[in-house]
Amino acid sequence: MARMKFLCDAERCIECNGCVTACKQENEVPWGVNRRRVVTINDGIVGAEKSISVACMHCSDAPCMAVCPVDCFYRTDDGVVLHDKDLCIGCGYCFYACPFGAPQFPQAGAFGLRGKMDKCTFCAGGPEPDRSEAEFQKYGRNRLSEGKLPACAEMCSTKALLGGDGDVIADIYRDRVLRRGKGSEVWGWGTAYGPGRPGAQPPQQPATKS
């Protein structure tokens, strides 16, 4: 059973914003709404600069879904978290609950009125009939129904951003890390990708002098 996830490889992301552009173009996302964005830490510091591409992570236990007062969220059989804009009241609770800042709100009018929430749909559309004009207008392209994967991941030039079945992309990432010989020391590695053999622990980080 496919369970759709994103995974971004910070060793590969070059902050080109190709994923952001691909998302904007594919879904015709309005001005001021960024379903995906690239976050960079230690910007400009040689050797320490890292970037990752962030959007809705389609959480298995989604906080947005838990806090929504009108219960507009739902999860599909593929593990994609979607929402119904006809039910959304634009209250913003999901924005405060989301650890990734994924929910976006179009602003309009002199007083910055908050519109209905918009977020990454994993290119899976929404409640309107699949591939219909109404679905595209509200939620963007439904690529999954066309047998395709999200545009951002498929467009990524360095393949830093992987998107698809969680098991498959974890395999791709694990294979990559084993080839380059580092990455498994990252915190949480064992939890996310397995220890490799029963009882094995990820290698310890060498102590750094301050």
């Binding site: 739902y74 991941a153 498959v168």
Partner: protein, 79 residues
């Protein structure tokens, strides 16, 4: 009286603090009451390369997995 008040607060005051199970239920074209179609219930695009049987989840997942593997450049170039 005060004990009754405590019981009342505990019962009704905390009633909104519960959390519903986030389980996927697909019934009569709806996910938890929200209408949506399932990807494999669509025909493959007439002009696309994707091939699966309409309504067959396994064949759609096989198609998606094959497409997913193209994100692995080591596999793509046969390394």
């Amino acid at each position: 009286m005060s004990r009754l008040l405590v019981v009342f607060v505990a019962l009704f005051g905390l009633a909104a603090c519960g959390e519903k199970e986030q389980v996927v239920v697909y019934k009569q074209g709806k996910y938890q009451g929200k209408p949506d179609g399932r990807s494999w219930d669509n025909e493959p695009l007439a002009y696309g390369n994707a091939k699966w049987t309409k309504g067959d989840r396994a064949s759609w997942e096989a198609e998606i997995k094959a497409r997913n593997d193209t994100q692995n450049e080591n596999k793509r170039i046969g390394n």
